[in-house]
């Protein structure tokens, strides 16, 4: 296959990848009540409807703070876990490594059903912190993967230099190690936030009557498809773009996180 044919093929594949993201923009600005393409006229009515509907706003705010809490908890637990996985040798290290990454492999539906059973007993259905705990289980692998990659590339000579110059271990950690790991921390935290913000399957089981944004969207798609959901989609896509720009700017490079 020549280079040109490869580029043409990839352009078509990119079209396939981007088309669903692009199509929601014109629909969100449609003046028609029923989904019509191309839109007969332009209006902001679906955005207004979103901002005027306390249900949508409630769901958005709930998803935002659940996402932030998940990111904080996943970092607080995942960063020390990555440190011990990369820097120390202990009995059962391989097992711990497998366990930490298992939530990526085990189908989410199984975790959801399991936690639903447990949380129903503990009366945790509908509680926001129940969702935070469940989302943290799902976000932990991202944090461990990103932080482990960062720690493996880390030059430990810098820490030895700090300690050689008389810095305490805490001071070395706070003034040398963590600042140097900041790009990894930023990427890990943002990915943990996004994974929670977008999460539907667990929320479907555990959120109860308290909607998260994905659950509200799911119900909306099932019940009444109107372009409000296109407006919400556009805002979601813009949010993800901003997060990706932040990762590219302050986190480990985009291609770096791929390896």
């Amino acid at each position: 296959m020549s280079r040109r044919a490869l580029i043409v093929a990839c352009a078509a594949i990119y079209l396939f990848l981007m088309l669903p993201l692009l199509v929601v923009f014109p629909i969100s600005l449609s003046s028609a009540a029923y989904m019509q393409f191309p839109p007969p006229g332009l209006s902001w009515q679906w955005y207004e409807r979103y901002f005027d509907d306390p249900q949508w706003i409630d769901a958005t705010i709930r998803s935002l703070y659940i996402g932030v809490a998940t990111a904080i908890l996943a970092l607080a637990l995942g960063v020390p876990l990555a440190f011990s996985l990369v820097r120390t040798k202990f009995i059962g290290r391989v097992l711990v490594d497998r366990l930490a990454l298992a939530p990526l492999i085990v189908p989410t539906i199984i975790l959801s059903v399991s936690l639903y059973g447990l949380f129903a007993k503990l009366k945790l259905i509908g509680e926001w912190y129940g969702l935070v705990v469940a989302h943290t289980v799902l976000a932990l692998p991202f944090v461990v993967l990103v932080m482990s990659a960062g720690l493996r590339d880390f030059d430990r000579g810098l820490e030895q230099a700090a300690e050689g110059l008389g810095a305490s271990r805490t001071r070395t950690l706070l003034r040398v190690t963590l600042p140097l790991l900041r790009p990894s921390l930023v990427s890990a935290g943002l990915l943990a936030f996004l994974s929670s913000f977008d999460e539907l399957v667990v929320a479907l089981f555990l959120a109860g009557p308290n909607m998260t944004l994905p659950k509200k969207m799911f119900d909306n798609i099932l019940m009444e498809i109107d372009p409000t959901i296109a407006a919400v989609s556009v805002m979601q896509i813009l949010l993800v773009s901003v997060v990706l720009v932040l990762i590219g700017r302050f986190g480990r490079g985009l291609s770096g996180s791929a390896r």
């Binding site: 296959m1 020549s2 280079r3 490869l6 580029i7 990839c10 594949i13 990119y14 396939f16 990848l17 981007m18 088309l19 669903p20 993201l21 199509v23 989904m35 393409f37 607080a76 637990l77 020390p80 876990l81 011990s84 120390t88 202990f90 290290r93 930490a100 298992a102 939530p103 492999i105 085990v106 189908p107 539906i109 199984i110 975790l111 059903v113 399991s114 936690l115 059973g117 447990l118 705990v133 469940a134 289980v137 932990l140 913000f197 977008d198 539907l200 399957v201 089981f205 994905p214 969207m217 799911f218 798609i221 959901i229 989609s233 896509i237 990706l244 590219g248 985009l254 291609s255 390896r259």
Partner: protein, 272 residues
């Protein structure tokens, strides 16, 4: 030394506690429902009745087809990203990662808009006179396949990219210097050396496909039954926990089996 071997675990303990209490314990507890009363009747129902056996085959079939399509689309993309200039590669990555991190719901909704009876594609084809009746693209097998490939394609692109990047440029230069054509370089240098990456990507896509829920639930229109959808129904609608647990146990066993065998295989491949 032995003390250090134990204290190394210290910082990991809070995370391990979370994983034990909210991951391992609830999953094992739930799976236990399947053998409550000491019978295996729920397993024989899951694996013995034609209706449910059909769901297993559907799930496998869809996972396999999705994996093959992702491979065919993901390889060229990963290859191009790995062999282009850094500037283009960054841009290319943005347009792979943007869909990857966009909510699955947003994308599912967008496919409904595109593929529906009155959707964008059918409108365009009808108005241009290519077809007389709308094509059935949604609420069926086709819709589920399109939606799932879209969600899983990035998981194939990233490992392929990594594998192509690891190919030593000197090998390619040597092949070129010896007069090999592009096609021959691809077949004799790139393809064998990137096989582990292809394999890793395919395994991830296949394993993730097996447990898919949102896409088949929304784009299948109730006509495409996959395992995860069946499990959800058993819990939410039928309230049959024992049967849901048996189905989950089978799904989990298959997932872990595929994953473990693949890991072992790729390790031996890496050693030889």
């Amino acid at each position: 030394m032995s003390l250090r071997r134990l204290t190394g675990l210290g910082p990991a303990l809070p995370a391990l506690a979370l994983l034990f209490v909210f991951f391992l314990f609830p999953v094992v507890r739930m799976l236990g429902f399947s053998i409550e009363g000491g019978t295996l009747e729920w397993y024989s129902k899951a694996l013995g009745q034609g209706l449910y056996l059909q769901v297993f085959w559907n799930t496998f079939e869809i996972a396999l087809i999705v994996t093959v399509i992702c491979l065919l689309l993901g390889y060229p993309l990963g290859f191009l990203l790995a062999t282009t200039t850094p500037g283009w590669a960054t841009l290319g990555f943005i347009f792979v990662l943007l869909p990857l991190w966009t909510s699955v719901l947003v994308r599912t909704y967008a496919w409904m808009v595109l593929l529906g009876r009155n959707g964008v594609f059918n409108r365009m084809l009808l108005e241009s006179g290519v077809i007389a009746d709308p094509l059935p693209l949604l609420n069926n097998f086709t819709g589920v396949l399109i939606g799932m490939v879209h969600v899983l394609l990035p998981y194939m692109v990233l490992p392929v990219y990594g594998a192509v990047r690891r190919v030593d440029p000197a090998l390619v230069a040597a092949a070129e210097g010896l007069g090999a054509s592009n096609a021959r370089i691809f077949r004799r240098v790139y393809l064998p050396l990137t096989l582990p990456g292809i394999f890793a990507g395919a395994v991830i896509v296949f394993v993730l496909s097996l447990g898919f829920f949102i896409t088949p639930a929304l784009l299948g229109g109730g006509r495409v039954m996959m395992l995860a959808v069946l499990i959800e129904q058993q819990v939410h609608e039928t309230l049959n926990w024992a049967f849901a647990a048996a189905l989950s146990a089978v799904l989990l066993a298959v997932t872990l089996l595929v994953y473990t065998v693949a890991q072992r295989y790729s390790r031996t491949a890496a050693e030889t």
